[in-house]
Symmetry: C2
Amino acid sequence: MGKKLHRRNFFQKFFLSGTGFLLTSAFFRKANASPKDHAPLLSQSGNDTLKTIHNLRTIHGNFSNKVIPEHQLQQVLQASIQAPNASALQSYSIIVVKDRNKMKELCGYQGSALLLYCVDYNRLKAGARSLGYDYHPDGIMRFITGSTSTILAVQTAVIAAKALGIDSLATNGIHRGDMQRIWNMLDLPENHCYPLIALVLGYADQEPAFHKGRLDGAGVIHYEKYHQLTTDEIEEMTRKYDDKDLHLGLNDNWDKDHKHYLDWLFTRWLGVGAGRMDKESQAFTLLKRSQFADL
Amino acid sequence: MGKKLHRRNFFQKFFLSGTGFLLTSAFFRKANASPKDHAPLLSQSGNDTLKTIHNLRTIHGNFSNKVIPEHQLQQVLQASIQAPNASALQSYSIIVVKDRNKMKELCGYQGSALLLYCVDYNRLKAGARSLGYDYHPDGIMRFITGSTSTILAVQTAVIAAKALGIDSLATNGIHRGDMQRIWNMLDLPENHCYPLIALVLGYADQEPAFHKGRLDGAGVIHYEKYHQLTTDEIEEMTRKYDDKDLHLGLNDNWDKDHKHYLDWLFTRWLGVGAGRMDKESQAFTLLKRSQFADL
């Protein structure tokens, strides 16, 4: 219980300070170095779109005050909805927030604009009602299908923004603290609407200090069927997280108090040892209220 | 109950015939026409990445036998994992399937390769266990956060593939029929692993007959707070779905038996009127088994 509280406080501290991050990016560029290229198949491709993906990076607390031109914001929105979506339902709503104080309260971060992506069937329900149909998009499969369509649209916006030189942060900060505030602040419908991610858009006020890499190979990419990692492969994974040149983890200071990065991750960040859940989360209570849990 | 069964049979028929689709794409090109441009902010941008997004389209039953060069498949995979991901956990597994019979059985479609994306914490659990930690990524918030990271990676693959001239279909066909087959066929772990989407990659054997558009404006994009559609806006939405030039829906033949596209959608495709769920879905039962439902 003590460790669980510790973790909660840790998150809360990060949330309140606005310097924390949960969604990390692929690449940070080091200003005065020639960093290892973690994705040479992209950087050496000569393909603009692959290079855009190669250059993706997440900006955390340090967006500048520079404003995104309205035309470019509209390009990002138009791109976002081109993503594939289940049954052509577009079962999402995108709420554009430019009020910087509201952004901070919603997710802990501020940029030029925030796009709040919700899985949302209410537009369709209104259409059904107007024609005399009683449409109940209840249950977990509607949630999974709807949230899939929603997140496909999020990443299309992330890549379109980067193509326009706009940085981003996709954060689940909306799920920290009292989640009910999101419904209250944005007048979200109680049923069949659930906020999934806040996409903060803007410009970095300074270049990040280092590249971020990605774990690849065994355990991430499997061929023909699921591969359970061998003892050797698990040790190799632990070693990779410890290799600071790869920048796979959330920080580089784990070795002050821990033998391995994963020791830091599991004790300090994830707070394991606290055991399984001892009560239902607010997230689940709200999922049930939204009618997205079965029965 | 009758209508519910009807809907189930409808889905099953589509699934078995392999001609159905649940995830639709942004754009289909008409061979001998000058179709309306649904996303001029992208096509006229002069930006290669925005044009790639503009050209996204979903291929359904008609992938050719052409094989994706292995180098390009690896580019798509390397691109996919550059997506942002929560806490740098990469809480997903990507299973590459090239066996065409297996593809068909998994999702009802066949292309050159299938990437099966699962939210998956088992690699991290193995790392924790090796260091003596008992890591329980239980509950709906781990599922939502993990599935968000997973779907961000999916759409990065979709866009990277398109940049290389490779078409795709992101389908939840894996959730139709007996879902347990996915675990059986791919040796998926029972806990903390859940298959979300099958991304079929390949080449169209013929160009789709028409463009697909997207609903935009009120009810899709909101400003500063959620906007409930007015009666006029709902009628406008219904009218847009009925405008065949916009190609917003799943088919163009709805007007044989229905007044509006939405009549067809709600009666024939979504099967409303069958009322709320009367028993727990297999999807939810498996979500509970995976430990991703609270308590």
